[in-house]
Amino acid sequence: MRLRWNRGKPVVLSTERFDLRSVSQRWIARHTFAWSENEQVMAGLELRAGGWLLRRWRRRFAKADNRNHLILAIFDKQNGRLVGYESVNISGGNIAFIGVAVGDTDWWGKGLVVETRAALLDYLFDVRGCTRVWGTPFGRNFSSIYNYQRLGFKKEGVLRKGGRSANGDASDMVAFGMLADEWRALRAENPS
């Protein structure tokens, strides 16, 4: 698989089971478009399944530039298959907002997000010099909440009816944040 990139340096991260590589908005949209038909996957994203046009699907992703906007495709090292992606938007020079999707449901419940996000946090704090990383999962996205809690993110608040769920209802979202010093302390306790 060939990944072309023009702006910024490509980002390549590796964990025990996965490779993460920066890709473009167009690339990730094209390679994840089939996920838009999967009710399980889309439910996790609080999006309706089915009926998407590729151009509308593509607009869900930020235009990645490998500087302030990153899309990191997650590949299974065993077979090279795309299994998910992490998205990162860096604002103010050092505050990163993150999101994730795992489209290969065979990987659900197997620690993929904890493993890949730990590598992403290392990169954001140690390489990019971020001071803060945060995310806002939906309040009923139990798996996503687990992943933030499992990695040691602090709950910073509930955004009451802060988002709109797939069925159109207003839903709570939760702000989870991690500071650089907190992550380094956690890493010192548990290097793996």
């Binding site: 659900w108 419940g109 197997k110 620690g111 997000v113 904890v114 309040g139 009923r140 139990f142 798996s143 996503s144 909440i145 687990y146 992943n147 809690q149 499992r150 709950k155 509930v158 009451r160 709570d172 939760v174």
Partner: protein, 74 residues
Amino acid sequence: MTDARTLVAEAIERPRDHVPANGTIETVEGWDSLGHMRIMLALEARLGRPMETEEILELASVEAIDRLLNGGSG
């Protein structure tokens, strides 16, 4: 009275002895993201209502689940 250890064990498909009373999402093997979802859904079924977001955020340990189910009886 509902037993938090049993609820967690059944949700993650492990024997009750696998889930200590002081177990947490960090220490109980099998309490992964999918297991967590099953635990939350089992709790809501047991409670007979959807949980508030603030409640959901507290439920990262067997003790917290026990408090929710049994009003802190331990």
